[in-house]
Structure formats: structure tokens, C-alpha cells
């Protein structure tokens, strides 16, 4: 294979004049994490509400929740990004649309909104599964104690459901980090986008992508270890997850 390896490339100046290539990649990592974490907070909140709605005895709430999940699950993330970025500003009243388009870091905020809605549908699915995995007696016991429906959810069902779905939520968090790379299509300079532009300027294709791959692997490892700690900390005694502390 005639490919000129040059691992020293990371210490050479990048043409965007903000430092060397390694610093450029790390600044991309910052954008990746900022996007993923902001979107995750919103997705978790939205997903919890929608997921809960789908399990309530209120028929209209369950139907609304189901429709929400179907809409955001059945359109590819890339297309959703385009809808938020290109289509939504056009459909709003003119002044609001112009304001949106001129927002500083518009691609960041668009990516956050798109990822948040996309992921919230998946979180909602997990939350619903978590609540439905609880024995029916828990809801009945709450009602028998005189708790109202919101109180039963707040004090009985949700604390257990969230503990049960911690492992799938961890995978969803890893997914949102990976999915944030799709935002390069609307111009967000996150990690994968930085690796691509490094490759375009320096022609060191494989070094750039190797570095990005290693950074993603490191982030993954940190998240998995941290979540293992959280799972142990929140484990309910008597359940399979609660082993030796």
C-alpha cells in the first residue's frame, strides 16, 4: 500500500489558525459533548412526560403519546435535521423565521432540537416499557393508600421505572453522542466534521479518522464506567441489579 503515514500531523498548525490539528479535533469534541448533553437533558424530560402519558388510563393522552413516538421514530434523523434547519424557519411568520436563521450558532441549536425530539421518542419508549414492567399491584397499592394518580406516578411508579431502565438509557445516551455526528450535514463543526476537514486540508485521511475513532472510544468508555457507578448507587436492594456494593 502506497500511503504516506505521518503521525506528526497532529502537531502541525491547522489552516483555521486556531492551533494545531489536535486542538482542532478536541474543540470538535467540545461541540459534540455540548450538543449531546444539552439535547439529552431535553430528551430525558420530554421522553419522561410522553412515556408516562402513554401508560396513563387517559385514552387521549395515550393516543397523543403514541402518535408522538411514531412521528419521531419513523423519519430518518438526517431528514429531521433538514426539516428543523431548512423547513421550520420558512413555515414560521416571517420575522420569527428571519430571527431563527440569524441566530448565532444556528446549526448548534438546530442540532440540539432535532436530536432532542428524535431521542425523546426513544426515551419515551423505554419509560413506557419500564412503567409497564412493574407489577400492577404497585399502582393499585398507591391508589389504595389514597394517593392521587400524579402522586402514584411521582412516588411509586417512576422512581422504580427509572431505575429499571437505567441500562437502556445508557445506550440511548451513547446513541445521542454518536448521532450528534449527523449534525455535520447542517454545518456543525463537531468531532467527525473536524476529522473530515483535517483530512481535506492535510490529506492524512487515516490519521484523522483514527484519532476521531479513538476519541469516540474514550468517551464511550468514560460514559459506560460512570453509568455503572450510577447504577450501583441507585440499585434497589433485593433486585438483580443490586449486587455487592
Amino acid at each position: 500500500m502506497n500511503y504516506n503515514w505521518n503521525w506528526g500531523i497532529f502537531w502541525e498548525m491547522s489552516p483555521d489558525a486556531s492551533g494545531n490539528y489536535l486542538q482542532t479535533l478536541l474543540s470538535g469534541l467540545n461541540w459534540t459533548l455540548a450538543t449531546a448533553i444539552t439535547a439529552w437533558v431535553v430528551a430525558l424530560a420530554l421522553g419522561a412526560v410522553v412515556g408516562t402519558m402513554r401508560t396513563t388510563p387517559l385514552l387521549w393522552a395515550a393516543r397523543l403519546g403514541n402518535a408522538y413516538v411514531e412521528v419521531f421514530r419513523n423519519i430518518p434523523l438526517l431528514v429531521q435535521m433538514f426539516l428543523w434547519f431548512f423547513v421550520v424557519p420558512e413555515l414560521l411568520p416571517k420575522a420569527a423565521g428571519t430571527w431563527l436563521k440569524q441566530l448565532p450558532n444556528a446549526s448548534f441549536w438546530t442540532a440540539v432540537v432535532a436530536l432532542a425530539f428524535f431521542t425523546s421518542a426513544r426515551v419515551a419508549e423505554q419509560v413506557r416499557a419500564g412503567i409497564q414492567s412493574l407489577p400492577r399491584g404497585q399502582m393499585l397499592a398507591g391508589t389504595a393508600l389514597g394517593l392521587t394518580l400524579p402522586q402514584t406516578y411521582r412516588y411509586v411508579l417512576l422512581p422504580m421505572a427509572f431505575r429499571i431502565i437505567l441500562p437502556p438509557l445508557t445506550s440511548e445516551f451513547l446513541n445521542i453522542i454518536k448521532n450528534s455526528a449527523v449534525a455535520l450535514t447542517i454545518g456543525l463543526m463537531e468531532l467527525t466534521a473536524r476529522a473530515r476537514s483535517m483530512q481535506e486540508f492535510s490529506f492524512q485521511v487515516f490519521e484523522a479518522f483514527t484519532a476521531a475513532t479513538l476519541i469516540y472510544l474514550a468517551v464511550n468508555a468514560v460514559v459506560v464506567l460512570a453509568m455503572r457507578g450510577v447504577e450501583r448507587w441507585l440499585a434497589v436492594p433485593g433486585y438483580i441489579g443490586a449486587r455487592a456494593r
Binding site: 502506497n2 412521528v71 423519519i75 434523523l77 438526517l78 431548512f86 450528534s180 467527525t192 487515516f206
Partner: protein, 230 residues
């Protein structure tokens, strides 16, 4: 809001979008599903193998590809496949790989990791006494797998495999980043040429939504029919 919505642009271009763009997406999806399930099943058998190096190799490959974004994987293979091809046929310069082949190789190798995890769960769901019975009858490993374990594993996992295929169908849209002529890429070209971004992207979203919803309903129906009474 939709007052200036121009249906005419869809009327003029829908044939190109569907018969070239969506057809490309569907072809990649179906072929990548077949290749991915075949490779994924092999990987799953390797991961469950008692030969440790084989299990580690498959496990490392699957975990590596599942930890990085598909966008990055697409870039990797886009640049790597010409070099691998040159290495395979012994050519001194990177070979040229067509758009279709490049996308197909990428998605087979990537989705195989996800199909692998599904098939692993499927194989593990079969009681080990069944494999033991096969060996007691004098069957070898491939006979036990081919006649006893895999047919049941496939049957149990068909709904999950198909759900993963719906995800694959959506993921193929990401070949937009290397400008392969799929549904989204062609729609975005028309959108930019005619200055009709709203109409084109809404059309793409509606088509994807309708198809994916239809497919997931079918999977749900199938799930009910396939369920084995135990």
C-alpha cells in the same frame, strides 16, 4: 403557512425521486440486510465459540463498530475500500469503487454488528439441551447449527431482525454525506436547483414516514403470527 406550497415541483420530479433515489435506497437496504444477516450470524457464532481468539476477534470488531458514529464509519469505508480492494487484487494504486458497491460494503459490514447481537441473543435463547441432543445423535457442529439451532433462532428473532432492517432503511439516508444518489441526495439536489427546499424535504419526510410506519405495522402483525406457543 402552506399558502406558497408548490405541489407542482413534486409533480414534475417525483418519478426521478422514486424510481432513481428511493430505488437506490431500497436496493442498498435489501442487499445490505441479506449480507448483514449472513455476516452477522457468522459473527454471532464466532462470539459464542469456545475458541477464545475467535470470540475475541468477533467481539472486538462488533464493539468497535458499535461505538463510533455511522457517519464516521461511512467516511472510513469510503476512503478505505479502494485501498482494501487494491490490496486484495494486488494493484499498486487504490482501485475505483462504484457508488453502489461502496455503500453496499459499508452497510453490510456495519449492520452485521447489530444483526450479530440480535442473532447472539437468538442462539442463546435456544435451550442448550437441544444442541446436546443433536451431538448425542452424532451430528457435528455445522449440522447442529444448521438443522436445530439456527432455524429456531431465526424464527424467534425475525421481528427484531426486521425492526433492525427498518433502522437500516433510515440509516441509508446518511450516504448523503458522500453524495451517493439515494433518495435524500437526489431530493436535495432538486431542492437546490429549483429553490424548493420546503416542498422537497417535506415530501421526503412524508414518504419515509409512510413507508416506515407501514413496515413497522407489518412487523407487529408478523410478531403475533410467529409467536410459538410454549
Amino acid at each position: 403557512m402552506f399558502g406558497s406550497f408548490d405541489f407542482d415541483v413534486i409533480g414534475r420530479t417525483w418519478q426521478t425521486l422514486i424510481f432513481q433515489g428511493l430505488a437506490f435506497t431500497l436496493q442498498v437496504t435489501v442487499l445490505a440486510m441479506l449480507g448483514g444477516i449472513a455476516l452477522g450470524t457468522l459473527l454471532a457464532m464466532m462470539r459464542l465459540s469456545s475458541r477464545k481468539p475467535l470470540a475475541w476477534l468477533a467481539g472486538g470488531y462488533v464493539n468497535l463498530l458499535r461505538s463510533i458514529p455511522l457517519v464516521l464509519v461511512i467516511f472510513w469505508f469510503y476512503f478505505l475500500v479502494p485501498y482494501i480492494g487494491a490490496w486484495v487484487i494486488g494493484s499498486p494504486t487504490p482501485i475505483k469503487v462504484g457508488a453502489f458497491a461502496s455503500a453496499l460494503v459499508t452497510f453490510i459490514l456495519f449492520e452485521a454488528c447489530y444483526y450479530c447481537e440480535i442473532m447472539r441473543a437468538g442462539i442463546q435463547s435456544i435451550p442448550s439441551g437441544q444442541a446436546g441432543a443433536g451431538y448425542a445423535l452424532g451430528m457435528n457442529y455445522w449440522q447442529v447449527m444448521g438443522h436445530i439451532v439456527l432455524p429456531q433462532a431465526f424464527r424467534n428473532m425475525t421481528p427484531v431482525l426486521l425492526t433492525q432492517t427498518i433502522i437500516l432503511f433510515q440509516d441509508v439516508s446518511l450516504v448523503y454525506i458522500i453524495s451517493l444518489p439515494d433518495f435524500v441526495t437526489i431530493a436535495s439536489k432538486v431542492a437546490q436547483r429549483d429553490g424548493r427546499l420546503v416542498e422537497m424535504y417535506v415530501f421526503v419526510a412524508v414518504v419515509y414516514f409512510a413507508l416506515c410506519l407501514l413496515l413497522s405495522w407489518q412487523v407487529k402483525r408478523l410478531q403475533g403470527r410467529l409467536a410459538i406457543v410454549r
